[in-house]
């Protein structure tokens, strides 16, 4: 199971953090900080894996990838494959790249909710849900189309097919 997805920049500022088991905010911050301090002390050209029992409990591993100014970090347990997780980061980045055409840190900062939409299509409740970036893109686009539509509809009340009105 995937325990957490994090993105942080090379200065240690969190850009996105999602923990699949609830943790209080302070604990999340502490983890992000300690993960960053470990990552930033890693030399270049070493493996992308870390065993971080001390932070996330026994049998937890971490895979990270460094893109330009961002670290992409996945934390998971023994039921996942390290190399595959590395590719999952690749999937995420590829998808973001398609989303924002040449994704950079600022895209991620400013499109906070879209980032979560994309991530939710890939990882669902801590399990890998979808790894085809085309499919992810399709789903995300469909959501944004419908969101845009419902946005305009909300001004002119008109029921979309089967839309359940009222609270």
């Amino acid at each position: 199971m995937i325990k957490a997805v994090m993105m942080m920049n090379t200065q240690g500022k969190p850009r996105l953090a999602k923990f699949y088991d609830f943790l209080p905010v302070e604990k999340q911050q502490e983890l992000i900080r300690s993960v960053f301090s470990v990552l930033s002390s890693r030399p270049e050209n070493v493996s992308n894996f870390l065993e971080i029992d001390s932070l996330f409990g026994p049998d937890s591993r971490l895979v990270y990838k460094h893109y330009a100014t961002l670290y992409f970090v996945l934390v998971f347990d023994g039921s996942e494959n390290e190399l595959a997780m590395l590719d999952l980061i690749q999937v995420l980045v590829e998808t973001l790249d398609k989303c924002f055409s040449n994704v950079c840190e600022l895209d991620i900062v400013f499109n906070y909710s879209k980032m979560h939409t994309v991530l939710d299509e890939i990882v669902f409740g801590g399990q890998v849900l979808e790894t085809r970036s085309d499919e992810i893109m399709k789903a995300v686009e469909e959501i944004s189309k419908l969101e845009a539509a419902s946005n305009s509809i909300s001004l002119v009340p008109k029921s979309v097919s089967g839309w359940r009105g009222g609270r």
Partner: protein
């Protein structure tokens, strides 16, 4: 520039009503991005919190604005500040009909709230409603929220709807419903235990994505209960086979690999199912072999699958051929330049070494390279491997390396782990007690405060009991060497407390035993310890007790005792100590000094720490006195149980049970003294003054040793006749008697300057000093790590000085000559000819079963039963025939859902079962590659 571009893009999107935010938010993000310090960032965020608090109080906030506020709240919380003041607004937003707002609301609450939060109750109703929505995106959003927000109590509220969604027409919804159900299972297995069959059913979903999602819960279920899923082995194998044969739609390819994530999950499941199960394993041989052949090792994901195959093979009962393939894959990993692959290779080696211990030998140089690698992760993994392959022939080299590494790192968590591993290996494989003591000293010196206290007690016990044989000479040598090493170490600054306790105890017990060191010398050292660590009362207590023992031995042997002035001042200081324990020890010491030799000898006999002390717990010797007292009108004793919170007796007993007498102040109130508690009072009156001191002091080591005996299942010394774990014939048995290990012999032959005593240090020091000519050294290290069992081999090596280092293969033959390699029993087991013949035939038959209905003889499982009535499959699979296949399978085996392996078209019943088929979905593992297009397109 880039920034401007992005902001421009952002504003453009904002005007379209997309994911845009207002200028305010952009400014916020920007100013936080430019903040130079954490303090500045905090200031910005705090003022933002103020702004938001104010704005959220305004009446009639437009929804668009509200949405942005909520995103800002989420952002604030990601930066580590409390945004709880706005949670309720996020909850409210989930109620909105507008999808954009609803999704934002859900996103915020999933990030803000945990499943036990009070506000959840306000969301459950909305979730229920949304799960029923006709808009599948709303359903998806609700399912997403469920995963995070539903706890054990609220599961029943949404469970029926989630189960309904398993049959939703959209595969995206089905997929998420399965995941949600999986999540429920994780949170509260009992709540969904009746629904587990749904997972099996969904395995036959006509969408491969849904099938892939089902593997996640199945993996969990199978790891909990392997036995009840054995019937699915052939199903999983055939799914995997079809995936590798590219029967899935092309869109599932990732970097030219067909559905690699599904393959990996399947391999993980197969590893579970095949573990310890020969027949299940045999079914897997074929497909695993194919995978090894087909896997593209040039891509990362291809290697991920290869690694998973290795893992699977190390779990199941493998065939020799597969083992070979796995070994090949590992050697490819290890030879790679990528650190990631090396890491996987080392990991794989660690797994495979349990099955075939010889495999590591071909990779010895690669392993040593990894040990020297700057990558810490790789290094640790390699240490893990070394830990797994330790045996008595290489324990010295490995433990030395581990200790060197332990000294070099700062991470306390890992330091503790590696220290405990050193201790464990040393206890299990130590070639001699001397070596063991040396290693323990190093561990204590460098990680003393991280070691379990039992390790210290074990060490004391070892020194006290010696070899356990009646070899007093060897015992005293051992003690002398311990004393010598401690006297050397003792003056070093800042030793860990635990280590000082051991040192003090040993010095007190054996410091003067040999006559080599004078009492004043040892007592001076002990005073120094008490002085240098004056804040550590435990150490002081140990030191004073040690002093007492030394003086007692002196008095008993009739020598005149000169109490050193510093010792005298120490005693005086402690007499006024705040710690009653220290005070008592000091008084006892003072009293002891005034006694004559005979009394002292009976109080503290020489080397009696291992003698059993007979404690008359009933205090029967007091019976007469009690009788007398009662007769003269005293109240009879009321047993402990009849009183409440009795302290006199519990306190008394606690000395029996606690490892160390309590040193801290007690905070509980003492029981008021009662005249009835005659026995305890009587004991202090009757027994001469030194008696309690004798009791508490001399008894202490005994009690600790008895404690450690009790814990012996956890940490245990097994020094004599240790059998090695794997591979080479027993080595320990021949050397257990001699204190000099063969390693040292090797060392002295090649490095005459290195003494036998420091033999354990040799490989490292020589290694480091001669780094330039790395190969021969590495070779030597490799030899000592991997095959140092035959001394003839290393002799040969050292004589052939500058000989070009032979690689693993070259060094192998002479190594194997002296000792015929015996394959471990596991290997012999599956090396049986019958096993291989079954291997060859069985998977084929099964595959044949998929292609046409050749007769199935092994109809033991349900799946086989399905095959037997299978008819030939036409290559042009129409939807009709597929449906009929399924209907047939559902007829043949309604309870279990192995329909993906059944191929029998029994078209008569096709129509009747149409509805059922629709429910079950269509077999994703069919022969026809265009199946999915047909069904989905």
């Amino acid at each position: 520039m880039e920034q401007l571009k992005t902001i421009g893009r952002e504003l453009a999107m904002g005007s379209q009503g997309g994911f845009g935010q207002s200028k305010e938010f952009l400014d916020l993000v920007k100013s936080i991005g430019e903040a130079r310090s954490k303090a500045e960032e905090d200031r910005i965020v705090l003022s933002e919190i103020d702004i938001l608090k104010r704005k959220l109080l305004e009446p009639d906030i437009p929804k668009r604005k509200m949405k942005e506020y909520i995103i800002r709240l989420v952002y604030i919380e990601m930066l580590g500040h409390d945004a709880s003041f706005g949670y309720i607004h996020a909850v409210k937003m989930t109620h909105d009909d507008n999808l954009l707002l609803k999704r934002t609301g859900y996103l915020a609450v999933t990030l803000f709230l945990n499943e036990d939060h009070d506000l959840i109750i306000l969301i459950v109703n909305t979730i229920q409603k949304d799960l029923r929505s006709d808009n599948y995106l709303v359903v998806c959003a609700a399912l997403n929220a469920i995963c995070r927000l539903i706890n054990e109590e609220t599961i029943p509220a949404v469970l029926p709807q989630v189960v309904d969604l398993l049959n939703h027409q959209k595969e995206a919804v089905r997929k998420k419903a399965i995941m949600a159900l999986h999540r429920f299972h994780r949170k509260s297995p009992s709540s969904v235990s009746h629904l587990i069959s749904n997972f099996r059913k969904r395995l036959c979903d006509n969408d491969p994505g849904v099938m892939g999602a089902t593997l996640c819960p199945l993996f969990d279920l199978i790891s909990e209960d392997v036995a009840s899923y054995k019937d699915l082995v052939s199903s999983f194998v055939s799914i995997l086979k079809q995936v590798t044969e590219r029967r899935l739609p092309k869109s599932y390819d990732y970097h030219q690999m067909p559905a690699p994530f599904i393959q990996i999950k399947l391999l993980k499941i197969m590893a579970l199912l095949g573990s310890g199960d020969k027949s299940a394993s045999e079914i897997m041989y074929m497909v695993l072999g194919d995978l090894f052949r087909k896997c593209d090792s040039s891509t990362n994901i291809g290697n991920a699958i290869l690694y998973e195959c290795i893992r699977c093979i190390s779990c199941i009962i493998p065939s020799p051929k597969l083992l070979e393939a796995a070994a090949d894959a590992i050697s490819k990993f290890l030879k790679s330049d990528s650190h990631n692959l090396k890491y996987m290779g080392i990991d794989g080696l660690g797994r495979l070494i349990k099955i075939s211990p010889d495999i590591a030998e071909q990779h010895q140089l690669a392993v040593i390279d990894c040990l020297e690698d700057p990558d810490d992760t790789l290094k640790r993994k390699t240490f893990e491997l070394l830990y797994k392959m330790t045996k008595s022939s290489n324990v010295e080299v490995i433990v030395d390396r581990m200790i060197d590494y332990m000294i070099s790192i700062n991470d306390n968590h890992y330091k503790t782990e590696i220290a405990s591993r050193c201790v464990e290996l040393a206890e299990q494989f130590a070639p001699s007690n001397q070596w063991f003591i040396q290693i323990m000293n190093k561990v204590f010196e460098h990680a003393g405060d991280l070691v379990n206290i039992k390790v210290a007690h074990n060490l004391m016990r070892l020194i006290a009991e010696g070899f356990g044989e009646d070899d007093d000479d060897a015992d005293s040598k051992l003690r002398l060497s311990a004393v010598e090493s401690y006297l050397q170490i003792i003056s070093e600054p800042k030793l860990p407390s635990l280590f000082l306790q051991v040192i003090s105890w040993v010095l007190g017990e054996y410091g003067t035993a040999d006559g080599k060191y004078s009492a004043s010398y040892i007592s001076g050292k002990l005073c120094d310890v008490a002085d240098a660590y004056s804040s550590d009362e435990t150490v002081k207590g140990y030191a004073v007790s040690a002093l007492m023992k030394i003086y007692a031995f002196e008095i008993a042997s009739g020598r005149k005792v000169d109490v050193l002035p510093e010792c005298q001042s120490l005693i005086e200081e402690l007499l006024a100590s705040h710690s009653t324990d220290l005070q008592q020890r000091a008084y006892e010491l003072q009293a002891l000094l005034a006694l004559d030799a005979r009394a002292v000898e009976s109080i503290l006999p020489l080397d009696a720490s291992c003698e059993d002390i007979e404690v008359d717990k009933d205090l029967s010797f007091l019976n007469g006195y009690i009788q007398q007292a009662i007769e003269s009108g005293a109240q009879p004793y009321i047993s402990e149980r009849e009183r409440s919170g009795m302290l006199e007796t519990t306190d008394y007993h606690s000395q029996d049970h606690h490892e160390v007498p309590p040193h801290a102040l007690r905070f509980e109130a003492y029981e008021r003294p009662k005249p009835s508690s005659v026995p305890t009072q009587a004991s202090t009156e009757l027994v001469p003054v030194p008696e309690p001191s004798y009791y508490s002091e001399a008894h202490q080591p005994i009690s600790t040793s008895s404690v450690s005996e009790r814990e012996s299942s956890e940490i245990k010394l097994r020094l004599d006749g240790v059998k090695q774990k794997w591979g080479r014939p027993s080595y320990q048995s021949s050397t257990s008697a001699s204190s000099t290990p063969p390693q040292a012999e090797n060392g002295t032959s090649s490095h005459p300057d290195v003494g036998v005593g420091s033999s354990s240090l040799k490989p490292r020091s020589s290694y480091e000093s001669k780094k330039p000519e790395i190969d021969p050294e590495k070779q030597r290290l490799a030899a000592s790590l991997f095959g140092g069992s035959s001394s003839s081999r290393s002799d040969r090596k050292s004589s052939s000085g500058g000989h070009k280092p032979a690689k693993g293969t070259a060094s192998k033959p002479p190594k194997e000559n002296p000792i015929p390699v015996q394959p471990p029993p596991d290997l012999l087991d599956f090396g049986e000819p019958t096993a291989t013949s079954v291997t060859a035939t069985d998977p084929f038959k099964e595959l044949e079963g998929l292609m046409d209905s050749s007769s199935q003889d092994g109809g033991s499982t349900d799946v086989m039963g399905l095959y037997s009535d299978a008819a030939p499959v036409t290559t042009t699979t129409s939807v009709d025939s597929l449906l009929s296949e399924l209907s047939d399978s559902s007829k043949g085996n309604p309870g279990t859902y192995q329909s993906q392996t059944s191929k029998g078209p029994n078209s008569k019943e096709a129509l009747e079962k149409d509805a059922l088929v629709r429910q079950m979905g269509v077999n994703p593992t069919s022969q026809n590659p265009t199946l999915f297009k047909d069904l989905l397109g």
